[in-house]
């Protein structure tokens, strides 16, 4: 049977895997952003998650909530651009939802809170070719898998995020920098949706490794 709840070890491992993933995909994210934005998304995310794990290394957080709160404030103060406040808010809201331990429903609560935070700040709806297009299906998929526990929920979320990111390719952007391109934004994957897929894949892998 899968793990029943995920604690701070999971959250720490998530952040470490997120850092590694973003760092490995730095150039790929830059290239996606060069195509429909300004070419900095990989650099921004890499800088942010490097800072997150460095910060966490100086602390001894006792709960997933604490880990995610540190991640939130660090991202907020190091990423900049559009992604900084959006991911910062997502993780801040998620940290409150996460609390001390995360079960299947906890994963749903965490992802729902993240989506709410992103939409509260960025005002984007699904279909506008932003990170929302990865987060929204992820939260929905998690809800459907929640009964199978947090690991299954995160795995489902990760897969839905990956699909969601891929599905941004044909979309025409109407939010963020890519919206300046109008029709010409179609045919390129949204960098923020792609980084979301990486982050949720890291969360699932960390859960599976618990």
């Amino acid at each position: 049977m899968a793990t029943d709840t995920l604690g701070h070890a999971w959250a720490l491992d998530w952040m470490e895997r997120a850092r590694a993933a973003v760092s490995a995909e730095r150039i790929a994210l830059i290239d996606l952003d060069r195509a429909i934005g300004d070419g900095d998304h990989g650099e921004n995310m890499d800088r942010g998650f490097t800072a997150v794990t460095a910060k966490l290394a100086t602390q001894a957080p006792g709960s997933p909530g604490e880990v995610l709160k540190t991640a939130a404030t660090t991202l907020m103060s190091t990423v900049g651009g559009a992604a900084g406040p959006l991911y910062g808010t997502a993780f801040l809201r998620a940290s409150k939802a996460a609390g001390d331990a995360v079960d299947g429903d906890g994963v749903v609560a965490l992802l729902d809170a993240a989506v709410e935070g992103i939409q509260a700040r960025g005002k984007a709806e699904p279909g506008e070719k932003t990170m929302v297009d990865a987060w929204v299906p992820a939260a929905r998929a998690a809800r459907e898998a929640a009964a199978d526990g947090p690991v299954a929920a995160l795995r489902a979320a990760a897969e839905a995020a990956a699909t969601g990111a891929a599905e941004t390719e044909p979309m025409v952007a109407t939010k963020g920098r890519a919206s300046y391109l109008g029709q010409r934004s179609a045919g390129h994957r949204d960098p923020g949706a792609q980084s979301t897929a990486l982050l949720l894949q890291a969360a699932a892998e960390a859960a599976e490794a618990q």
Binding site: R34, G80, G81, G176, R177, Y180
Partner: protein, 333 residues
């Protein structure tokens, strides 16, 4: 990629440091968090002006810190808006007790980060007003975009609002002046070549030997359309016409005509553009009563230019003419 840089990760800090060393009589650089303020600090009783955004648009914004213009500027990472913390600290450094105006260019990142900084500043009892510059007519201002980008008009907002603050107007009235400029200024740019972000290491976009991008943003965001290379007069028409349409200028009105270089275009070419734009305006009966030509808001080494037109009235003209003592714009001081 060949650049006069050391580690791509150090470009912004090393450059801002050099800027501080070169101009100690005008500015002071705060290294952590990174911002630039006036050498003398905040002016007691004066409304403080703060702007900022991603780096790579030099001399914007740090070059406009000084008497008659900004009190502080916040350079973010390359093409990446700064985070709230340095904006907050710059806001504190700019506050002379009369409140602070944030001049924000309309990009999702800038708007979000300045918004947070303003909230944080209010929490520390500093009154903050924000204006958002959105003058780029290349972007349709509609439900289908993040709204018009802030480009060349930003320089004019900073100068004119700066003069209003300097002559002692209060926060509300400085903000009103800034809004008036924003309502009456429009811009559009073209790129002949791409810029290369240092950490990306390759050009942001690829233009063919004979292609020009019309409606380019200042971060190398692609523009409205890609056309075959054309004579300067034709490119000028393509930039100026949408600007004039949007401003719906009538014969007899006065304007400031600002031809801006994107960083990699020789000054001589900007003056060719200026000359034709001047002729087009004159033919419409519009009087160019003030001008600005040069590299004032750039996109690294991008080749290209943008045209900005500001409708002038007496107040704006007077404020434009007021003395200014910054590194990049200086007159009467």
């Amino acid at each position: 990629m060949k650049k006069l840089i050391n580690d791509p990760g150090d470009v912004v800090t090393e450059s801002v440091r050099g800027f501080g060393l070169a101009h100690p009589e005008t500015v002071r650089v705060n290294e952590d968090p990174l911002f630039v303020c006036r050498a003398g600090g905040a002016v007691a009783g004066k409304v403080g002006l703060v702007s900022g955004g991603g780096s790579g648009h030099e001399p914007l914004h740090a070059g406009y810190v000084g008497q008659g213009m900004l009190d502080a500027a916040v350079p973010g990472a390359m093409f990446t808006s700064p985070t709230p913390e340095p904006v907050l600290e710059a806001t504190k450094a700019a506050d002379g007790g009369a409140g602070v105006l944030h001049i924000v260019k309309n990009y999702t990142g800038d708007v979000l980060n300045f918004e947070t900084a303003a909230e944080l500043a209010e929490a520390e009892d500093i009154t903050v007003r924000s204006v958002v510059v959105a003058d780029d007519v290349a972007v349709e201002d509609s439900l289908y975009t993040a709204g018009r980008r802030g480009v060349g008009g930003t320089v004019l907002v900073e100068k004119i609002a700066g003069a209003a603050a300097e002559r002692g107007e209060d926060l509300e009235s400085v903000a009103t002046i800034a809004e008036q400029v924003i309502e009456n200024v429009r811009s559009m740019g073209a790129a002949l070549s791409s810029c290369t972000v240092p950490h990306a290491g390759q050009p942001t976009f690829d233009l063919g030997e004979n292609e020009i991008e019309i409606g380019i943003g200042i971060h190398g965001e692609p523009g409205r359309e890609r056309i075959p290379a054309a004579p300067a007069d034709e490119i000028t028409d393509r930039l100026l016409n949408p600007v004039l349409e949007d401003l719906s200028l009538s014969s007899g009105e006065k304007v400031l005509l600002f031809v801006n270089g994107m960083g990699g275009t020789p000054l001589s070419e900007l003056y060719i553009v200026y000359g034709h734009a001047h002729d087009v305006l004159a033919a419409r009966g519009v009087e160019v009563s003030r001008s600005l030509v040069g590299n004032y808001i750039t996109s690294l080494e991008m080749q290209g230019a943008s045209i900005t037109v500001l409708r002038l009235d007496e107040t704006l003209t007077e404020l434009w003419d007021a003395p200014v003592g910054t590194v990049a714009l200086r007159r009467g001081l």
